[in-house]
């Protein structure tokens, strides 16, 4: 178990075409860019020998919108909605990674309540991201039922996002210096109610999949990568942890309030798709635990730092007095000045380490805004992980990364 069935580099398979009674030739198969299992637009050219993948070449860029270029021409506030559209399944964590980098550059700290809200929403986002992955991955390899179960819970979370900030997917909820709106008691109550039943729901998914012999056979031992290779390829997130490497940004360089709550990093052993599934299931349990503790601990107070040059004035005041309205308008249109310097700051997004490297030369726009996309870098190991498997496994190998092309191509 865990190792692919045949040799990785099948170049020297002993076939002599002249002597063989049957004609032998390598086949080049194009997959995508419009394949339902690619979750976006991704094209893969497969070199096949019979049914066995000899080489897989991903062709990226079908969803390239030049976000990094656009970011150089936008103020820091205007970049926040751009980040929503990177990994559009998990907009909250993208926002978080970006504002944290800017805050590091500005050297500001944010109020405790805002830190708690940020941690809660990014864990909610992790839940919804993993639920999305679980449903679609199972759907892709033929286990359709799970999809309806996971989307039921995801819907509850998206409704809560709507209640919190008015949007379900492209949330733009974070602001430099805090968050946009306060978490109301209604959101907190509904979240508590959701968490009461959620662990049972996870068991439900588990039952649906682990007793499904076909699903288990199609995930165990597929898309194997060793821990050493995974590190060398720069992989992060569940793909890395399934190979037994203990690296989670939330533990290694804690941010938010992750150091104030108790939780564990689940680790895999075999480095295959089944272990990645298990990691994500366990992460959901841990996320639920983190949210629960955060809700218990969350203090009262401000939701944004009191820095008139950077943060927006409170919404009630904007609607009632002229000065606040002008203040709001100035920050929204002209942005704020950021001192010269360069920072790299990263968070643990559901897909892996999402980092922002911002170079500022002063002024209200970044000189360079580099996004470290986990999906793109994980995709770098695709060829390595696909070699030697059957063509039917290719969909599983896609699915194993939890890939979202919006982030991969930017």
């Amino acid at each position: 178990m865990g190792e692919p069935v045949i040799d990785h580099y099948a170049d020297d398979v002993e076939v002599t075409p002249e002597k063989s009674p049957r004609r032998v030739e390598d086949m080049l198969l194009n997959m995508g860019p419009q394949h339902p299992a690619t979750h976006g637009v991704l094209r893969i050219v497969l070199d096949l020998e019979g049914e066995i993948i000899v080489k897989a070449t991903p062709h990226l860029g079908y969803l390239h919108r030049g976000v990094e270029k656009l970011a150089e021409d936008a103020t820091y506030t205007q970049i926040i909605p751009l980040t929503d559209r990177l990994d559009y399944i998990c907009a909250m964590t993208n926002n978080y990674a970006f504002v944290r980098a800017v805050e590091k550059l500005l050297q500001i700290t944010i109020p405790q309540r805002a830190e708690y809200i940020r941690t809660i929403v990014s864990e909610m986002q992790r839940l919804s991201g993993h639920l999305f992955w679980l449903g679609t991955q199972a759907l892709d390899i033929g286990a359709m039922t799970v999809f309806f179960y996971t989307f039921r819970e995801r819907e509850v979370l998206l409704d809560l996002f709507e209640l919190l900030c008015g949007a379900r997917l492209t949330v733009s909820y974070f602001r430099v210096g805090g968050v946009d709106r306060d978490m109301t008691d209604e959101v907190i109550d509904r979240l508590y109610k959701f968490l009461e039943t959620f662990p049972e729901k996870i068991d439900e998914y588990n039952t649906l999949l682990e007793t499904n012999r076909i699903w288990v056979a199609r995930t165990k031992g597929v898309a194997f990568i060793s821990g050493k290779d995974a590190i060398n390829f720069g992989l992060t997130g569940p793909v890395l942890r399934a190979s037994g490497v203990h690296y989670d940004v939330r533990k290694a360089q804690p941010y938010g309030v992750y150091d104030k709550v108790e939780w564990e990093v689940p680790l895999g052993k075999n480095g295959d798709t089944y272990d990645r599934y298990w990691i994500r299931i366990e992460e959901m349990r841990q996320s639920a635990k983190i949210i629960k503790q955060c809700l218990d601990q969350i203090p009262k107070g401000a939701i944004a730092a009191d820095l008139p040059m950077i943060t927006y004035p409170p919404r009630e005041r904007v609607m009632t007095d002229m000065e606040s309205l002008i203040h709001h308008f100035m920050i929204a249109t002209r942005g704020f000045e950021v001192p010269e310097g360069e920072v790299y700051s990263s968070i643990e997004a559901p897909k892996g380490e999402l980092g922002f490297y911002i170079v500022s030369q002063g002024g209200n726009k970044p000189h360079r805004c580099r996004i470290r996309p986990p999906s793109f870098i994980n995709m770098g190991a695709f060829d390595h992980m696909a070699r030697g498997y059957m063509i039917a496994d290719i969909v599983t190998i896609f699915g194993t990364y939890d890939i979202v092309m919006g982030e991969c191509d930017r």
Binding site: G66, E68, I231, G234, Q253, Y344, G380
Partner: protein, 166 residues
Amino acid sequence: MQKSVVEKIVADWNTVVLKEAFEEVSFSVPREIIIAFLKYLHEDIALDFDHITDLTAVDFPNEEARFEVVYQLYSIEKNHRIRVKVRVPEDDCTIDSATGIWKGANFLEREVYDMYGVVFNHHPDLRRILMTEDYNEGYPLRKDFPVEGRGWRDSFEFLSEQKQGN
């Protein structure tokens, strides 16, 4: 990152320039020794930078050596980060590839080549990655490339508003 580690690197290499800001450590390295330096960071037991977090470039059009290739490295075992920066001039836009040290550098170097036109010597498969392979309108992330794109859009046939009305 620990002080002793930074001091060790400074002591071992006299041509690198250390800069510490925002609690981050970065080294500016001459282009000639980059691979030797990266190899040292990767293989030295006390440093152990086994994980290539990111590799990118920054364009400074007004400076003498125009491009700056930036490596973000991380050690999973030791939990420390480092940034390595190398200047590359525009008229000789090449640098040696780090794919021999980290396989993860493959896609990242292709992206830098695609976006900035920096050529990585000894790269196994240096093709454009995000733009199409036959794209020949330049390198999009260079500062002299306009945000709205160059050329290609003008070739579209647009109907005037009046025509649409008829």
